[in-house]
């Protein structure tokens, strides 16, 4: 079974959307509340590696793309979640699952203000500790 089939089977109806951009670039959308289970399946059960996660401020919400790489075939499966509440954005932390997620999530918190529930050390990583609160460098000022 290809990794794509294994993922479809493992995640089942958690997959809201599936888009194949190129032979090794797949984008899946899921609900934010499912991220911990999905990460458990992809990382622990199926052996994908978390390359990184990119957060982005979009008009519909704060979007996070978790980029998982299946090194055996070179496919990158990017899992998309959209956190609609921009005033109090929260999502489960993956750091309890594997330590590599710690710094990745800290960076997203300080750049976008997303709170990662269960993160052991959510404090500034790149910016000084005295950086003004509620000032997130990658947030845009959208016109309403």
């Amino acid at each position: 079974m290809s990794i794509v089939d294994k993922i479809k089977e493992g995640l089942g109806d958690k997959i809201i959307d599936w888009y194949q951009h190129a032979s090794r670039r797949i984008y899946i959308s899921i609900k934010p509340s499912d991220i911990k289970e999905v990460a458990q399946i992809l990382f622990r059960d199926l052996g994908l590696r978390l390359a990184t996660a990119s957060g982005q401020d979009t008009p519909v919400g704060l979007e996070i793309l978790y980029h998982f790489s299946f090194d055996k075939t070179g496919e990158i499966v990017s899992v998309r979640v959209i956190i609609k509440d921009k005033k109090k954005p929260e999502i489960d932390s993956l750091a309890p699952l594997f330590p590599a997620a710690e710094w990745i999530e800290r960076e997203m918190w300080e750049m976008l203000g997303i709170k990662f529930i269960g993160h052991p050390n959510l404090k500034h990583l790149l910016l000084i500790d005295e950086w003004p609160q509620e000032q997130y460098p990658l947030r845009h000022q959208h016109e309403s």
């Binding site: 951009h21 990184t52 990119s54 980029h67 790489s69 590599a100 710690e102 790149l126």
Partner: protein, 397 residues
């Protein structure tokens, strides 16, 4: 010889928190905890990208890191070409590969030199950097600069490799092979270096997986991953070469991986020079359509990952950059803790972080939080340990 507390450097208040890169907490000789504080090199490049047009971003990301200066533009142009489904001309793929492998050679020689310096083999430092110079000369010949080559471009490369430059490049590579053999012999067969580096700073395979480490750091722990083979780009699938993997996960293994990779890089470049076709070097890309793309390359330190999103205008609306050291440096929490302070300098340097980062180290006593040593002291301690090992093995100091 018991180690006494060293006089702290400078009139610092004992409890003042120095914003250092690595804060090592020790009990006696043993490192019991480590705080890693990054952000010294943070210049807000992702945000700056959103204000530059696509071609300007290539120059911007080159300056993320001077040593991996072509890996970041390479990953970036791969991301944009993935987004817009651009076909890059064959000759450009080969030229990109040649430049990337030359960078790997100069970077690994640089690391070899620094590692030699850290453990007190200053001749290794001088010789490694001496052999690095002809590689930099070739860069200057082909691209116009010893570093920051500005070769990558969306859709191709910016400069061609002239026919008259190829024999000089070939000769430089041929002369490099006996030099690498010498380093291999000097490092791998030296009993003092073996004693110094074997069993130190171990990262097991499972730890390497949990911390998602990359590059030689991962391959030295038995993780058989290499972007060049796993998700081929450039001309890597058009030439034959080996991925070097070692199993022990210690610093000796990381050293062996880097030295053996030098042979592979030389071989890849020579094959590319043979097979490189004549032809166009630029796809002449005009517009980038809306969409998102991912590009990653195997930089000398590991996977360099770029994600780009476009809305059809002439600037990226999001550019995510993840350098390999971001993942590798964090793993020092495992590798450095439990070792001694005389091994700390080389353990921290083994993942090949930015040179500047290795400057900013302090050692604090765990009980009192008093600063007792700085980075230079750690290097001295490391060099002293080598001297003691030499004496114990009956070698002249």
């Amino acid at each position: 010889m018991s180690h006494k507390v060293v006089i702290p450097i400078g009139p610092y208040h004992p409890l003042q928190e120095e914003p250092e890169f690595f804060r090592l907490y020790v009990e006696g000789e043993k490192v019991v905890d480590i705080d890693i504080v990054i952000g010294y090199n943070h210049r807000g490049i992702e945000e700056l990208s959103e204000h530059k047009h696509f071609d300007q971003v290539t120059f911007l990301v080159e300056r993320i890191c001077g040593i991996c200066s072509t890996s970041h533009p390479f990953a970036y142009v791969n991301a944009v070409e993935d987004l817009a489904k651009i076909q890059v001309p064959e000759r450009a793929l080969y030229i990109r590969t040649i430049i990337a492998e030359m960078e790997r050679i100069h970077s690994h020689l640089l690391w070899l030199g620094l590692a030699g310096h850290f453990i007190g083999y200053n001749t290794v430092w001088m010789w490694a950097w001496r052999y690095r110079e002809p590689v930099l000369d070739c860069f200057e010949m082909i691209t116009g600069n010893r570093n920051h080559y500005a070769m990558m471009k969306i859709g191709g490369v910016r400069r061609n490799i002239k026919d008259e430059d190829i024999p000089i490049l070939r000769k430089t590579l041929d002369d490099l092979v006996p030099a690498v053999k010498m380093f291999e012999g000097a490092v791998v067969d030296d009993p003092v270096i073996r004693a110094r580096l074997k069993g130190i700073g171990i990262l097991t395979k499972q730890q390497a997986i949990d911390w998602c480490v990359l590059g030689p750091t991962a391959r030295a722990s038995g993780l058989n991953i290499d972007v060049r083979r796993d998700d081929p780009y450039g001309a890597y699938d058009r030439v034959s070469w080996n991925v070097i993997v070692q199993a022990e996960g210690d610093i000796f293994a990381k050293t062996v991986v880097r030295i053996l990779e030098l042979y592979e890089s030389i071989s890849i470049i020579q094959q590319c020079l043979e097979k490189m076709p004549k032809g166009e070097i630029d796809a002449n890309v005009k517009d980038i359509p809306p969409g998102e793309g991912i590009g990653h390359v195997e930089a000398p330190r590991g996977e360099c990952f770029h994600y780009v999103r476009s809305d059809g205008t002439n600037r990226p609306i999001r550019h995510k950059i993840r350098a390999p050291s971001f993942m590798n440096v964090a793993s020092n929490k495992i590798a450095a803790v439990g070792g001694t302070i005389s091994d700390a300098a080389i353990t921290l340097a083994a993942v090949d972080p930015c040179y500047c980062c290795t400057e900013r180290v302090i050692v604090l006593d765990k009980a009192t939080h008093k600063k007792i040593l700085n980075g230079w002291d750690l290097i001295k301690l490391s060099q002293e340990k080598t001297e003691q090992l030499k004496k114990s093995k009956g070698f002249p100091a």
